[in-house]
């Protein structure tokens, strides 16, 4: 008890950098300056649900969901391969997470040059091979590509971590009881790696759904996601109230989605296991 003061810096930190900003966003979202007087208003909240804004939000969820799914499909086999290579895996894993330490903007700009319509690296190569060029810059495809590229390591790492922690004797036991490698993957390895899959989904989906740099650059400003709209409210139209309201609604929806997923996850482990 007498060491309680050790927690004080963290309490101060939490208040200053988490609680106060959250409160301020809430405050901006539900108040407005009415002729020098601050009054409560539901105007910004309501505006968020207008089709133009709500559609942007729905689109954000759709693209982010799609990117997350592609990440999962790519990352799971990769994590399996890495986890299977005991000893050698750390060097390979290092190569896969190395790009994470490079500047995020730089990596996204790089794709811009790669995908450029006329003189981009990809299209130059395709022309050399007499193949039709691809023009995806400014389309949802480019945005999803950018999301997958940038966030893939966040899916690989947690899955890899749960896979390497599976007791090798449990894997042998599955073989021993008659399961071939595929049956073992479906009945034992995948269910045991679900916690990693869940945190991978969270770690990819969250930054993807709120991203505004990727749609800005790779979408050439033609595709507006919720992140872009919020950014515009703060930096261009200076409507902090509306920007805050949109952030607030986005946060609530994400929280609900995560809560639901956790529930589904638990239900799956307890009730659904019988189906395996």
């Amino acid at each position: 008890m007498n060491r309680r003061w050790l927690a004080y810096p963290y309490v101060v930190w939490m208040i200053a950098f988490i609680l106060v900003p959250l409160f301020m966003i809430f405050y901006y979202g539900v108040t407005k300056d009415d002729g020098g007087q601050i009054v409560f208003t539901a105007e910004f909240i309501k505006k968020t649900f207008e089709p133009i804004y709500f559609n942007a939000m729905a689109k954000s969820f759709l693209y982010a969901g799609f990117a997350t799914l592609i990440c999962l499909v790519l990352a799971y086999p990769l994590a399996l391969i890495l986890a299977g290579k005991a000893g050698k895996s750390s060097a390979m894993l290092f190569i896969f997470i190395l790009p994470m330490w490079m500047n995020f903007l730089l990596r996204t700009y790089a794709w811009l040059t790669l995908l450029e319509t006329n003189n981009g690296v990809v299209n130059t190569l395709l022309r050399l091979l007499h193949l039709p060029s691809i023009n995806i810059l400014g389309t949802p495809n480019a945005i999803i590509l950018g999301m997958v590229y940038n966030f893939l390591p966040f899916m690989v790492l947690p899955i890899y971590n749960t896979l390497v922690k599976i007791d090798p004797y449990i894997l042998e036991a599955a073989h021993d009881l008659g399961a071939d490698s595929f049956q073992r993957l479906i009945r034992v390895v995948f269910p045991l790696s679900l916690p990693g899959v869940m945190s991978g989904i969270t770690m990819v989906f969250m930054p993807a759904v709120t991203s505004f740099v990727i749609p800005n650059l790779l979408g050439s400003g033609k595709v507006n996601l919720i992140g872009n709209l919020i950014e515009q409210q703060f930096l261009m139209t200076y409507n902090w109230g509306f920007g805050s309201a949109m952030s607030l609604i986005l946060m609530i929806i994400i929280l609900l989605a995560m809560g639901l997923m956790k529930r589904f996850d638990k239900g799956n482990l307890e009730g659904g296991a019988g189906r395996w």
Partner: protein
């Protein structure tokens, strides 16, 4: 060959035919020889124990039987078929792993039903079989429990049930009791033996615990350095150890270098002992093994009689009460004797040491790998 080895191994009352035969198995890991040209027959319905210190190759041998390792050289014969290349999931052999290796995401029922589900057996049949297996390991009504809620002993029982429910031809057990406490371990020894007799399945059991091996086995295979040191019934291995290693590993032993002066006469620490062994060369240096419970001690009452006695004399250095007996340590010319009897001695006392001729076991130096045929 099958016939020959079965005859060689004796055990007439049970099925004579070898169920599985290891033939010239060798295995190395990183240049280190773990198994060195091992041949062994396992009969149907046999409780066979691989006994040895850690690193002796016993677990590797079990893993080769299970299909988890491939030998570098040699064959594993099941009938006339070499099964070396058959993966574990196609073998009719199941394993009870050392640390249980239960599936943490499945409950007790689902764990036990795992193998049956893979085989796509009818649901009602699975239910019946799992229930029966649970009953056999005394876990009635545990179906719905999560495996993480079970104690170590209960987890062990689930692991056993999960294996036997598949009705394997051979059950492999890799030190299954090593993480249980002493009382539970002893209980489980009896239960395992009973279970084996009820099921009529061949058990191949790996352990480093000699008491476990002696309690349960029909056949004990003592291993060291990748070589079978001795193979035989528990009584035979205990009473007639074939070399100093086996004598030392099975039960406690006093092991010394002695000289065979001639038939039935042994020189040990300058004293002549009468023994029953013959057939050694004159003045051959031999290993002498004497069990702690076979040594008789008598107090030397006075300083004078110390010089008069013709018997081997030692000085008591320690005497510890062990429950059933006292364990006395005695020093003779710098060599230590460990003796178990019911007398309490005081450190510093001098005692006479006597051993009956038939309790002195004499072994040729470096004799190894001979199959006992009792």
């Amino acid at each position: 060959m099958g016939k020959l080895s079965a005859k060689f191994l004796g055990g007439g009352e049970m099925n004579e035919k070898a169920l599985i035969r290891l033939d010239g198995i060798s295995k190395s890991f990183d240049e280190q020889v773990v198994l060195d040209n091992i041949s062994l027959s396992i009969r149907k319905n046999e409780f066979l124990t691989l006994l040895g210190p850690s690193g002796c190759g016993k677990t590797t041998m079990l893993r080769i039987l299970g299909g988890f390792e491939k030998p570098d050289v040699g064959r594993v014969l099941h009938g006339d078929q070499d099964i070396v290349d058959i993966p574990p999931y196609k073998r009719n052999i199941n394993t009870v792993f050392q640390r249980y290796a239960l599936f943490p995401h499945l409950n007790v029922f689902e764990n036990i039903a795992f193998g049956l589900n893979i085989k796509k057996i009818e649901k009602t049949k699975i239910q019946r079989k799992v229930k029966k297996a649970l009953k056999q390991v005394n876990l009635n009504g545990f179906e719905k429990r999560s495996v993480s809620q079970l104690s170590g002993g209960q987890q062990q029982r689930v692991a056993i049930a999960r294996a036997i429910v598949n009705e394997p031809e051979i059950l492999l057990l890799d030190e299954p009791l090593s993480s249980l406490d002493l009382k539970l371990r002893q209980e489980m020894q009896y239960e395992l033996k009973t279970l084996q007799q009820e099921l009529g399945i061949t058990f191949v059991y790996v352990t480093h615990d000699q008491e476990e091996a002696l309690t349960m086995s029909d056949t004990v295979v003592v291993m060291n350095n990748g070589i079978i040191q001795q193979l035989g019934k528990p009584e035979a291995v205990y009473n007639e150890p074939i070399n100093a290693f086996v004598a030392d590993f099975i039960g406690e032993s006093n092991i010394y270098d002695g000289v065979m002066k001639r038939d039935k006469v042994l020189e040990l620490f300058g004293h002549m002992f009468e023994c029953v062994d013959t057939g050694f060369e004159e003045n051959e240096i031999v290993d002498v093994v004497i069990r702690p419970e076979d040594v008789r001690l008598s107090r030397i009452s006075s300083k004078e009689s110390l010089n008069e006695t013709e018997l081997l004399v030692g000085k008591v250095t320690d005497c510890i009460f062990k429950g059933v007996h006292y364990e006395t340590c005695i020093d003779t010319y710098g060599y230590e004797w460990v003796v178990q009897n019911t007398k309490n001695f005081t450190p510093g006392e001098y005692v006479n040491i006597e051993v009956d001729p038939y309790d002195i076991h004499i072994m040729k130096k470096h004799r190894k790998a001979v199959v006992d045929e009792s």
